[in-house]
Subunit: 338 residues, 2 copies
Amino acid sequence: MQKVTIHDIARELNITFSTVARALNDHPAISVTTKEAVRETAKRLGYRQNKVASSLRSGRTNIIGVVVPSLDVSFFSSVVHGIERVMHENGYSILLYQSNESLKQETKGIATFLASRVDGIIASVTAETFQYEHYTEIKKRNVPLLFFDRTLDELQVPSVTINDYKGGFMATEHLIRKGYKRIVHISSERNLPIFSERLRGYTDALAYYDLPFDENLVFRGNISMEYGKTCVDALLEKQVQFDAIFALEDYMAMGAIHQLLAHGITVPDQVGVIGFANEAFGAYITPTLSTIDQQTVKMGEEVANLFLKLSKNKKFYEAEPERVVLEPLLMIRQSTAR
Amino acid sequence: MQKVTIHDIARELNITFSTVARALNDHPAISVTTKEAVRETAKRLGYRQNKVASSLRSGRTNIIGVVVPSLDVSFFSSVVHGIERVMHENGYSILLYQSNESLKQETKGIATFLASRVDGIIASVTAETFQYEHYTEIKKRNVPLLFFDRTLDELQVPSVTINDYKGGFMATEHLIRKGYKRIVHISSERNLPIFSERLRGYTDALAYYDLPFDENLVFRGNISMEYGKTCVDALLEKQVQFDAIFALEDYMAMGAIHQLLAHGITVPDQVGVIGFANEAFGAYITPTLSTIDQQTVKMGEEVANLFLKLSKNKKFYEAEPERVVLEPLLMIRQSTAR
């Protein structure tokens, strides 16, 4: 199909090219009658205006920029699917930028989105985001900004998160109810609220069930399989007594299971293991991994819906920011099924 | 840190705001001496020009758009890391768009990138891309386009792929050398060259080792765990004799292993299984999965380097398109180790 141009409209109406162009641009020198004729003809012929030109006019691009730490983690890619589903239905395009947990990259990504004149930015911050001028810049320009999962509460912007405290409590409580008593928690060295909340849930669950808190059972390292292995090695080497592990995140849990099995320790009989995030692989490994599901697709849909609702309001930043908190779900699989 | 503005430069040099602005924009009315003074002061104070404005001037945005079928698949997310690594080092930002295997979404993603005035597009096409006007449009606008893995050969653009024929041959040959004789191939219902090439490799390896080709051993379906299970069920139900499976893709292979184990058939002793793609989970499942590695990070780096090399040339589309073909690597793990 040949592309319809301004020339075709001009020919059809027997007027000049520049009259058509100015009519389409709503130029004051062109009469209302001519403008109407041009618009009708344009519509009938299937003329599509140049997107850049029309976005400069309307000030809208219908692009939403999404900044995430990593799309390798199925947590984030799954949230993105939720965002895409809702946004595509509403005529938006979603562009993605991976910060790869780097503040520098995150800053660059936001600059890129602002330069591309996106209509909004949805972000989950890196584990090293302690400064946040790049996020303040988004607010200054009055571009809607929303966070999901990893937020900067000081910034006063809308967000969708899950109740990480409750998730930490549920995971620990599940192990306690299964009869495990010496429960290790593998946490992160990073100071994100989502991580400290899970730790607080762990601590409170122990207290609630009258189990002592033991600092020797709490580890803090980077989120990786390797660190899960390292913790098991350290526990065995120091001959620390333990019968369960609640890992902050599924990759750590998988590493711990690997290393336990490598030392001939059975899971879940001798040691129970539960993760957090419900990564895709958890259902495939042996034993399958118990975990906390974060309702990822729903999280993406909720943050998209929140954007759609709030962005109708020109004064996006004037109201108290809305904060949606989803409930975590306990996924019981083989690794705690004794 | 306070942002340095044009006003700061004006104050520093004791000249007007508009003189500074015009100097920065290389206005002919401003003297060379003034321009130099302005530029030096701007540099010393750390003034950063507005990106949109400067990209409109230079015609460059330093943004590369990457279109991929799905970032859930570690093959694609891993290639993207390779692209990002090289492009970031060279001052580009990478924006990602998921087509989710939909031609409609792919078309929209490309329109979005073109509207955002990206400096180049790197893509891997969907399994349903039979029309490709949206790709032709990129060429028409003289925006550099490169393909990786899944290409449209008719379009005559540079690409980086792996030798899928050789990969299919290697996988089949490995099974034959391990003593397996009745080798099933699970292929795709989609007509992408990468898939038919793997099938051709399978067929040729059988012929090379004097094993008969049996159409009953070839399945064609969608790339999913479920389809791997379906194939195993069909083989068992029809009592087809087989002792190995070469799956087009790791998810299919994992589904097949699951279903074999569920029926009490041991892997690799009774049936050997090999996949393709070296997805991350393959090293974690039990038994660990033998597969073909596609040098994903290298593929990303190669396509980025090819872009950098070719985009220096203003006449990107005039030369014969360069096609880089990488070698597949055989990854031997437990699922074929008998």
